[in-house]
Amino acid sequence: MKLGSIAATIAFAVALGGCAAQGPPFERAGAPPGRAVIYVYRPYSFFSSAIHPIVQCGSQSAAIEPGAYHAFVVPAGPTGCRAGTETRDEVEIDAEPRVHYLRERISWGWLIGRPHLDPMDHDEAEAEIRSCCVQQQ
């Protein structure tokens, strides 16, 4: 009985592992001159793995899976990024032609998890994105 419970727990954990996104590892996106790259990445979290809110940066949008990232290549200049479910988070990025990072995090909500787009420092974000996230397919 005990052995059965352990096996079931392991099988459950393995099944959960399958919820994380699959894809090629992090690779820098090329951007033409006068454009900025905004990486939005989402470290895997079990509690929010079923929720895939749409993230919009400028005129582009993507639903980022847990454990994945998406590179938004946008025209340089002020660009708004937003994501929402029962509440909405917005970030205004002064997108100079360089790289910016946002970490998508889902917090507890009444009926559904709430997305947050946390602006991240370059060094911390680059290390984290390489270790946590694969390219969104």
Binding site: D89, D94, R105, W110, P119, M120
Partner: protein
């Protein structure tokens, strides 16, 4: 400001009010303004928030923090006549009932640091005026 100046660094749409009102295209006085935001946040573990009855009563589940740092350099030709730095920190908790957006916090931090630079400028206005008058 007791004089007008030319903006050589910074975004004309994002300046402390005192500088924004003192811009002129053809002045030998120059302004260079720089602003930076750094973000931090603290969150209670999701499982704890979910199990904690206080969460459902509006107890904070975490906090966002933004620090805006600004620097302003005023030069008269090659001579620096004023240098000012300021920083301001805005922290706001979030709960199931209220949640600030990052944009709101960023705007509040920017407004606060610009006010801080403005205050320093007004405090130093007399010296700046003398300094500019001395070179004319």
């Amino acid at each position: 400001m007791p004089f007008k100046g030319r903006l050589i660094g910074g975004d004309p749409d994002n300046l402390p009010p005192a500088i924004a009102m003192s811009l002129a295209r053809d002045s030998q006085i120059t302004f260079s303004y720089r602003e930076e935001l750094t973000h931090d946040e603290h969150h209670a573990p999701m499982l704890l928030s979910a199990l904690d009855p206080l969460s459902y009563a509006g107890y904070p589940m975490g906090e966002y923090e933004v620090t805006a740092s600004a620097s302003l350099l005023i030069s008269d030709g090659d001579r620096v006549i004023g240098g000012y730095t300021a920083s301001s920190r805005i922290a706001k908790p979030y709960s199931l009932f209220s949640e600030p957006t990052h944009r709101e916090l960023d705007e509040a931090a920017r407004a606060a640091v610009r006010q801080a630079i403005d205050r320093k400028l007004y405090d130093d206005a007399g010296r700046l005026a003398e300094s500019v008058a001395g070179t004319e």
